[in-house]
Amino acid sequence: MAEVTIRDLRKSYGAIEVIHGLDIDIADGEFVVLVGPSGCGKSTLLRMIAGLEGISSGKISIGDRVVNNLPPAERDIAMVFQNYALYPHKTVAANMAFALRMKRMDKAEIETRVARAAEVLGLTPYLGRYPRALSGGQRQRVAMGRAIVRNPQVFLFDEPLSNLDAKLRVQMRTEIRELHQRLSTTTVYVTHDQIEAMTMADKIVVLRDGHIEQIGSPLDVYDHPANTFVASFIGSPAMNMIDTMVQRNGAEAWVEVEGAHIDLSARSELEDRQEITLGIRPEHLTLSDTGMSGKVLVIEPTGSEIHVVVRMGGKDATAIFRTRHPFKPGEAISLTPDPENIHIFDRETGQRLT
């Protein structure tokens, strides 16, 4: 077990820099999720930690060792891949034992370790099978078993659940999380799925275009997104973004949006005629007579709640209701945001205004 420290890490392919000076601290035993849209550099970052990808400049340390120039096998890590990467010509037991055999570990020790990992993952009945005779979830477990038996300092997961169907994904999510609680090995987990990020992480690192957009606990990132990108990336349905302009008269500050008067007097830093973006989560919109008016466009019942897409002055906003209003498409409704939960961003830079 160990902490992982990343300092001013950069990666270029030729003249193109894809990772632009990242600093990340991962504490011992922490479960960190790297999340971001495709091409944000999250997998590259993980592969650099694993040693599968070279480092252009900067420093990665695992524990108190700088691992920049160590080959993957000497970094004391284990990695679980998206398509499992099981050795197809070896049985489940041989797959799990392989890395240990490569280290010339004692045979009896290998057997106890494999048996224990199989026990933990419920794979004992399948030890003699070949990967092709296993289901997706079982293969995923074997891949994890292969990581566990090595008892590494750090687990690396590269989108491990994206090949599974929705139901199994939720189940494996819990299993991985539970496994981490039991072993408390430092874990770095890459995903593009913000729900996985929210549900599993101790700490989320949101990446975009090789830059860190925000680092924080899941709820911190959800409740206090640092900028409009994080605000719209984390959370589903996405946060509603409304471009508007502040009006100030002495101590009073407010904005007018689609016929609604939204009081922002508590935010003393806002100036008259300042251009801002309001961010309002769908669950922080309620029905009222004096709210922003719009027309119901689409109704999406999920069972536990109803998502309503409302067209408001040319833009679409989403609201979530837990009560079953009988909405109809085309119906005029008006929505009021919860004043406690309005996020304000600078329209120019997209940065959060505290």
């Binding site: 993957p72 096998a73 891949f81 392989f98 490569m102």
Partner: protein, 279 residues
């Protein structure tokens, strides 16, 4: 899949076509084999009848086996074929792995250069090869043949194998790297077992032309000690008299080992194809 269950008529037609093709393909072999068991007169009088009690004779086989060198020729052919296949597969797979796996300057050019060999027949260079062999003192050694056949087989081997190796998942190789395998071990223990069907294909493609080749043995290794079976059988074909019994018997015997090798490889081939299809 509405056509999964085909009509009986179509099935019969398909089988009929295949059976006719099989008969046509096997007919010459069949004629060689039956005639190798007949007396000389019977061969000429009724070449297409089966040997009966009158015409049955093992004289051809006796001649061939009495000719003590026959086993040597046999051994030479075997050494040359197996040796060449070994080197073609080893070097072909290694080159293919490098081309498929590593990004380096000139990767593309190297691939094209190797593919060029598929289009240019090696026999064009026979004179140059002979000169080279004379200078290096390899004339009349089996090594001369093994080296030439290896060179001849490599382009296609690299071409086929690199295409297959590109399909081996990167994650798998990376998993191997994390498990502490060297690049050589990744090659031998992960990639090679996975491209085994492709290796079998390459082996089958190369084996038969090498076994049957007369050209290079005649030019590079015609000495008594290094004659291959195909070349050795020529002693029975004279300018004026040909000992057909012996020729046919020698040819019949020559079929056996190559058939055995084929069975070995083709089983791999079929296993590979089906396991790939079912996934």
């Amino acid at each position: 899949m509405s056509k999964a269950r085909q009509s009986t008529g179509a099935t019969i037609a398909a089988h009929a076509v295949l059976i006719v093709y099989t008969i046509i393909a096997l007919f010459p072999v069949f004629v060689i084999v039956i005639n190798s068991f007949k007396t000389r007169q019977a061969i000429f009088r009724e070449p297409l009848t089966l040997p009966d009690s009158d015409s049955f004779s093992l004289i051809g086989y006796q001649t061939v086996l009495k000719q003590g060198d026959f086993f040597l020729y046999f051994q030479n052919s075997m050494i040359v074929t197996v040796g060449s296949l070994f080197f073609i597969l080893l070097f072909g797979a290694m080159a293919a792995f490098a081309l498929a796996e590593y990004r380096f300057r000139g990767n593309m050019l190297m691939g094209l250069y190797l593919a060029l060999g598929i289009m240019i027949p090696i026999r064009i260079g026979t004179v140059a090869i002979l000169e080279m062999m004379v200078q290096t003192g390899l004339v009349n050694t089996l090594w001369a043949l093994i080296l030439v056949y290896t060179a001849q087989g490599l382009p296609l081997a690299v071409f086929i194998l690199s295409a297959f190796m590109k399909q081996v998942s990167d994650d798998l190789k990376n998993a191997g790297r994390i498990d502490g395998l060297s690049e050589y071990k990744i090659f031998f223990r992960l990639v090679l077992p996975l491209v085994r069907p492709a290796m079998a294909t390459v082996a089958v493609f190369n084996m038969i032309p090498i076994w049957n080749d007369l050209w290079f043995p005649l030019i590079l290794a015609p000495s008594e000690q290094t004659k291959t079976l195909t070349l050795g059988s020529q002693v029975f074909i004279g300018q004026f008299v040909t000992d057909w019994n012996a020729v046919l018997s020698a040819l019949s015997l020559a079929i056996l080992p190559v058939m055995a090798l084929y069975v070995v490889f083709s089983r791999q081939l079929i296993r590979g194809i089906t396991s790939g299809a079912v996934k």
